[in-house]
Symmetry: C2
Subunit: 333 residues, 2 copies
């Protein structure tokens, strides 16, 4: 029977949806419950990973160490996972993860900037953790480039390589094509992390598995950044229907989502117009506010700016381009 490992990110990607305000106690209660469902790994803490609690990303309700102290002791069956944005998280955070027994150290960089994860991957390996490269793209890059960056990640020592559909932009056939190409190009297993901007996170995760992905990121009730992630309980139901073993106790997962997570959710996950627009255009959410401001200043629809940003395949850090785009659109009118 085909097998898939689920990484549960309810307490990490879901932190975004709570403005990083899970308390360590809440995390411990949820982690203990999630640990009983059969997920392969549990990731937790600030939404932007270890070291993320800072002015630019928002402060979390607790420090990385406090979250570690609360969660690590209660997780008995699953493995612990941490994620780091290289630069935001440093060697200090890798040591912290090691101290608390994390098995997986995931490094998240724009797929086109995977080279900046090299040192972190190597250090995680030296510390005895399994380094994973998590490679987001907002829109989509050509298959041959996807393959090239995947091979770079493998050359640094990544032992699993994830494609992350950061904008919820991908259509299932695009996911399939890229995951299949990645799998063919490297020896290490491939993972997928989908967002739900076009309500395709489940379909994309399914397509990824069909193309050979062995690791899928999920959150209870899809609780995650922006439009949210692939909901664990729905993904598990779909896997069961396909006779693929993802190790999950479906009823228990449903019950825990409802009894333990739902009361802590500010609201049900909803795909609002902004999220749809970002997913449609393949534009990072970090551009949203800039597009809205530039649109107001130059009297153009921010959605046209977002569309153009997607067409240009801009990445995080280039948000000021919104002004140029707005100006050009205003001239055209």
């Amino acid at each position: 029977m085909k097998k898939v490992k689920i990484f549960d990110l309810t307490l990490r990607d879901g932190s975004h949806a709570k403005s990083h305000q899970f308390t360590p106690e809440q995390m411990a209660v949820l982690a203990e419950q999630i640990d009983s469902t059969g997920v392969a790994a549990i990731e937790f803490g600030h939404g932007n990973g270890l070291g993320g609690s800072a002015l630019q990303y928002g402060f979390a309700a607790a420090t990385d160490r406090e979250y570690m102290e609360a969660v690590a002791p209660v997780v008995k069956n699953a493995d612990l996972s941490i994620i780091i944005l290289p630069g935001v998280g440093t060697r200090h955070e890798l040591h912290l993860a090691k101290e608390f027994g994390a098995k997986y150290a995931r490094m998240c960089t724009q797929i086109t900037e995977v080279d900046i994860a090299e040192q972190h991957i190597k250090m995680a390996k030296q510390l005895g953790m399994i380094p994973i490269a998590v490679l987001p793209c907002a829109g989509i890059i050509p298959v041959k480039d996807t393959v090239r960056y995947t091979q770079m990640a493998e050359s640094y020592g990544a032992e699993v390589i994830y494609l992350l559909d950061g904008g919820g932009y991908q259509l299932p056939e695009q996911t399939y094509e890229r995951i299949a190409a990645m799998k063919k190009a490297v020896d290490v297993p491939i993972g997928f992390h989908g967002h739900n901007n076009l309500q395709l996170a489940v379909a994309n995760s399914k397509a990824a598995v069909e193309a050979g992905a062995e690791y899928i990121d999920c959150c209870l009730k899809g609780f995650g950044a922006g439009a949210g992630n692939c909901p664990t309980e729905i993904f598990a139901a779909v896997m069961d229907r396909m006779e693929i073993d993802c190790g999950i106790d479906l009823y228990k997962t449903m019950d825990i989502a409802e009894q333990y997570l739902r009361p802590l959710m500010p609201r049900a996950m909803e795909v609002d117009n902004d999220r749809i627009m970002l997913g449609y255009a393949g534009c990072y959410s970090s551009f949203l506010l800039f597009a809205q401001r530039a649109g107001a200043r130059y009297g153009v629809d921010p959605r046209d700016i977002i569309k153009e940003i997607g067409r240009r395949q801009c990445t995080e850090g280039q948000e000021d381009i919104c002004i140029d785009v707005a100006y050009a659109l205003a001239q055209k009118k």
Copy 2:
């Protein structure tokens, strides 16, 4: 360029999500707005179609005639559509639809019971309306049976035939296979109506189009029965990405959904555990309450009852079987 027609059901399937309490005035305001977006047809009124306002389905806030009087005059671009469950709606309701200028008369029966729609289809045709057969199945029936019932519907005179994934059970490849087979088997165009129990309504609608469906049912924000339907604005975004013309002004659709529908929604559409379970099992929502009651009586998990009901492919009207199933499950324990 490939073309798809969107039937907007916000004011009909969405009535379920409002317990049929849209006022005629609310419907008129929304219909006028939706009419400006480019949808092919607008369906409205009680969630269970014309004649549905009754004790067994719940009374609507207004009569069929009052809804007709409010909505028909404001719809200038789209065509009007009505739906009838044969038996619930009769010749009286077909005359009413004709009186107000409905172009499409859709007859909805279990796919295995399409024969009971024969008279309604023929009468709609005699009255000069375009008869459409809408064929729900909760789970899934073999392709060859799907084809056979589709051919029966065509033989009665249906000019479009819809497959309705009533339980949100279908996986995209199952939708594709069935729509492709239906298209091959008859001369009339094929439609698809998806529900979102496994968050696959968009992916299934997309798969249906890829298999040759030319009519897709959508609702603004997915506002519809149970887990909801395929959201118009997301479907339109996906079609645009695929360079398929569905006639929709995307920005206008988003704006109307937010400004006019959102304030009338009791809550955002959310796929709760019950809906996931029904979609996973392929069980009609009408069994839910019966399964819960029988489960409590015999001390078994209602979800195991729902799963068994799906396995047996029970259809609406057979809800009492829940007791037998619960008893059998209790014996097994």
